[in-house]
């Protein structure tokens, strides 16, 4: 954690310092980037550290967002209840899906996570009585916290998201540097060797899966509050693969990299869509370009140069 800690702390301090001077549109985008960065970092635990490419990560993000949206609109639940329910819902889905997915390896894992992600999308889309189907759930109120500032304003919500993202980053950073995290890396490098050394490979992979899904749920909670609106778009396949792209673009197995990747994609998406409706075309080209020209991601490429 020592190496990235200083630049990341500087980056966070700079962000916090310049935020009041920013107009509301870039500030909103920054907030969005922070929340999506949490999602990307959560996937990095699976993809970068454990070597499990999940193609259905939006599911846990979306389940939590839906939980918050339903509780906050239909039941006027407060922040603590929504946060707990959202994260718990994501953890529960990850715990069940993980049982199925972790049995499979390699390509099968990829395809099963995709299929499981589509199950959640199908529920969001078809279970109209609960999720309002394609229309989505709108009017999610920002949380009322015992703070002097209202989170309805962009700046306080930005600080709120910054604090949440930093918290997630620190916790995940501690996790991947813990003995547990090192075991995950060992599994990524050689599963059979770790098994021979006596590690319970299945359990480690399963826990990584559940933790990753839970943190994705945390991002989903923030997202529901940020957007005020949750719809099947949040759980669709494109959201899952976009997250995968963020991780690949930033550099898997670095935590900071995927966060940067998330910011790049969020800003790119919003700026490009100002000029053209052909955003998907450009995003598709970005996917192909990243794979052809920067297969280790931005941070990976920088590190290689640094050596």
């Amino acid at each position: 954690m020592r190496r990235p800690l200083v630049p990341a702390a500087v980056a966070a301090a700079v962000l916090a310092a310049v935020a009041p001077a920013l107009p509301s549109y870039p500030l909103t985008l920054l907030t969005q980037a922070l929340i999506v960065a949490v999602l990307a970092m959560s996937l990095d635990v699976l993809l970068g550290y454990t070597g499990l490419p999940s193609l259905g990560h939006a599911a846990y993000f979306g389940v939590a967002a839906y939980a918050v949206a339903i509780l906050a609109t239909d039941y006027q639940a407060g922040f603590a209840a929504c946060l707990a329910a959202g994260v718990a819902a994501a953890a529960a889905f990850a715990a069940v899906f993980g049982l199925v997915a972790i049995r499979a390896a390699g390509t099968y894992f990829l395809m099963i996570t995709l299929a499981l992600g589509m199950v959640v999308w199908g529920l969001a889309f078809r279970w109209v009585s609960l999720t309002k189907g394609d229309n989505g759930i709108s009017g999610v109120p920002r949380p009322e916290l015992p703070l002097p500032w209202s989170l309805w304003a962009p700046l306080p919500f930005f600080y709120f998201s910054l604090a949440a993202a930093l918290l997630a980053w620190i916790l995940l950073g501690l996790l991947v540097r813990s003995p547990f995290g090192l075991t995950l890396k060992g599994i990524r490098e050689s599963e059979s060797r770790m098994r021979i050394l006596g590690y319970n490979v299945w359990l480690h992979k399963y826990l990584a899966f559940v933790i990753s899904g839970t943190v994705a749920g945390f991002a989903g909670v923030l997202w529901a509050y940020y957007n005020g609106f949750v719809s099947p778009v949040d759980v669709q396949l494109v959201t899952s693969v976009e997250t995968l792209l963020m991780v690949a673009l930033g550099g898997p197995g670095t935590l900071v990299g995927p966060a940067i990747g998330a910011a790049v994609i969020v800003f790119l998406k919003n700026f490009v869509s100002v000029y053209t409706k052909r955003w998907l075309l450009i995003l598709g080209a970005v996917y192909i370009g990243v794979i052809l020209f920067a297969p280790r991601g931005v941070v990976g490429a920088l590190r290689r140069r640094g050596r």
């Binding site: 390509t107 395809m111 099963i112 990243v290």
Partner: protein, 286 residues
Amino acid sequence: MTAEFWIIQAFNGLSYGALLFLLASGLSLIFGVMRIVNLAHGSYFMLGGYVGLSVVWRTESFPAAVLAGAVAVGLIGMGMERLFLRRLPGQTLGQVLMTIGFALIFQDLALLIWGGDPYTIPVPGALQGSVVAGTYSFPSYRIFIVVVAVAVGALLWLALDRTRAGARIRAAVDDREMAQGVGINVPVISLAVFALGACLAALGGVIGGAFLGVYPGADFEVLPYAFVVVIVGGLGSLPGAMVGSLLVGLLDNFGKALFPELSYFTLFAPMALILALKPTGLFGRA
């Protein structure tokens, strides 16, 4: 729940399964030979439908639409394999991101060319109406789909099991390096299989375009079905694709009819069960 309900739903499930077979057999074959998870496979289905639609509008000929869709998409598949995917041997994540990139590009191009409105490919005159058997009537077009799928399945089986080219493909599926070592031109086989898989998906797209419709988003809607089929049946296995398609077609249809709000779960629960018992699918090998 009358007998009629069960018979009609089973027939609908069968015909949907037949369509899925056209889609999934190609996906499975491509995976078998090249170990590539092709996320653009649903796009081939959608593009096939759109190309077929344009051809039907101009020529009013259904066979021409099928042919044009299959050839055009087959060429697209060849281009993707030859120019891009061949550069990423063994890089699962890279292949996934690249094929997704193509899927997004195809989706946007289709939106640019054909717009956002849903269309239906008109059913050819000879296949309109229905066949009456006793007290039940079955739409002719759905019977046609089943016949096509059975014919394609039989041809694929004959080609794979009874011809020299098929033996080469099977060798490449079993062990790519050994096949190369005994003088089989694996790159050419990969190209051919990729083109064939794309053709089959496009065939499914044109034929399916007459009863599912052709619309933006169809690509990502059929993709998980194809995936569930090959997960259940086992990657790279033709019998697996057959059994898987039939199973998924039936499950999906009965699920939608009996539990409309939870229909995806009726698809997913049996898949989970099969995986729990056999992680490589019914006919798959590790």
